[in-house]
């Protein structure tokens, strides 16, 4: 059997694909793919992740360009936002019978 030779597509850089379903909506991570460069990545992203009008717009980002928080540090990392009940409206009392909202 012939051994696959030369460049193989899985050794091309990895790109993360983000799709915007409709104008005004946020971009959402759709998946990833391999491509030689950004333009190639965009074309492949269209064929793989937008065959049925799932996207109005596409972003492709080199996976290596993404810095992510570490799940193991999630506790201390997000801690500053977790103990501040006073940032939520429910923290505040309103007099009975008054519609605040």
């Amino acid at each position: 059997m012939a051994e696959p030779t030369g460049p193989t597509d899985s050794h091309w850089p990895l790109w993360e694909v983000f799709t915007q379903g409709n104008v005004g909506e946020p971009f959402e991570h759709a998946g990833s793919l391999h491509a030689t460069d950004a333009e190639h990545a965009l074309q492949n992203a269209r064929d793989v992740y937008a065959r049925r009008g799932e996207a109005m717009n596409l972003w492709v980002v080199p996976s290596t360009a993404i810095t992510a928080s570490a799940p193991s540090d999630a506790g201390p990392f997000f801690d500053p936002g977790n103990d501040k009940a006073y940032r939520h409206p429910q923290f505040y009392k309103a007099p009975r019978g008054i519609r605040v909202f």
């Binding site: 059997m1 030369g6 899985s10 990895l14 998946g31 793919l33 030689t36 460069d37 793989v48 799940p71």
Partner: protein, 336 residues
């Protein structure tokens, strides 16, 4: 090296080293992991996971991805012979979807730290497994209808449950796939409906296709729970959410009324409705046939792999051209 790498021996060596290298898991980490699973949380690529969870997922997901890719072949076989432009369009779109499904799942396996190149080599050198159903021939146009109805139908039952699997990237790929599978099943059932309402010859062709694909479709859910080595562990880790037999029963219950609506029968003299359990009870599956096909001796195993290797080799110039084009453009940008 080149010949060693492509050989069955290489893969076997490779597999044994991988197994030997599995590190012993820290019991405290395992306990924390299992607590997460019990709480219904999903596991993400950067989370700690037992080596066994990682290897089981790699096995399952790569087999699934291979099945999507090989699954293009039996139907690709009928694209040029589709009876109308409408049918041809649908079939091309469906086959293209299956290529996409393969890609979604291969990408998922890469989040587990494996290289798609290695997985693909395992498929091409015949050491990887894929769904046994694709090793049966597609002999008539009715097979296109019956594959969409039964084979994609069975895949939907399986994948709807997998969409709730504990590994996040796999679950998300399944959600995307399930949306597309509905089109696959409907286009297949439509073909069956037209044949069922057609000439006696068309009805006979449909019945013949169902007779050939019925039992292999039931085998798609894998061995019976009593003989499934991996089931216990996979259920505990919520990789699987239902057993093979539960899914098979669900499929039969969904499908028999659809067969009745077409006015055709399934080739099972023992089939009967049990009013107590509300299940369609079916006869004994021929597991020796399943074992034969899975171990490489089905009617089309050789042909499928040869077609896959040829497609891979024929695509080589496209990959080379894409690399050369990107290199040329990079040089131009540098010069500018």
């Amino acid at each position: 090296m080149a010949t060693l790498r492509g050989s069955r021996l290489y893969s076997l060596l490779h597999m044994t080293t991988t197994i030997r290298q599995l590190p012993a898991d820290d019991p405290a980490q395992v306990a924390a992991f299992e607590a997460l699973i019990a709480a219904g949380e999903s596991i993400e690529p950067k989370d700690w996971m037992p080596a066994r969870y990682r290897s089981q997922l790699t096995r399952m997901m790569s087999q699934h991805a291979h099945s999507e890719v090989v699954g293009m072949l039996p139907e690709g076989n009928w694209i040029t012979r589709a009876p109308s432009l409408r049918r041809k369009q649908s079939l091309i779109a469906k086959v293209q979807d299956e290529a996409g499904h393969g890609l979604y799942i291969y990408c998922g396996t890469e989040t587990l730290g494996v290289d798609r190149f290695d997985l693909f080599n395992q498929l091409l050198d015949g050491t990887a497994k894929y769904s046994s159903i694709f090793n049966y021939p597609t002999l008539s146009w009715a097979d296109m209808g019956v594959i969409g109805w039964l084979v994609d139908g069975a895949a939907i039952v399986n994948q709807t449950v997998l969409a709730k699997t504990s590994y996040g990237p796999y679950a998300r790929a399944m959600v995307r796939i399930c949306k597309e599978e509905n089109f696959h099943k409907r286009q297949g059932y439509e073909i069956c409906t037209v044949l069922a309402n057609g000439t006696p010859a068309q009805r006979a062709m449909l019945q013949d296709a169902v007779d050939r694909f019925w039992w292999p479709s039931l085998m798609m859910f894998g061995p019976s729970d009593t003989n499934s080595l991996n089931s216990g562990e996979l259920l505990r880790w919520k990789v699987k959410r239902k057993t093979n037999d539960e899914l098979r029963q669900r499929f039969v219950n969904l499908t028999i009324p659809q067969a009745q609506a077409l006015g055709i029968t399934v080739p099972d003299p023992d089939l009967r409705f049990d009013p107590e359990t509300k299940n369609w009870v079916f006869g004994e599956i021929d597991w020796s046939e399943f074992q034969q096909v899975i171990s490489g001796n089905g009617p089309c195993n050789r042909e499928r792999l040869e077609a896959r290797r040829k497609a891979h080799d024929d695509g080589q110039w496209v990959r080379e051209a894409a690399s050369a084009h990107a290199a040329k453009r990079a040089r131009k940008t540098e010069a500018a």
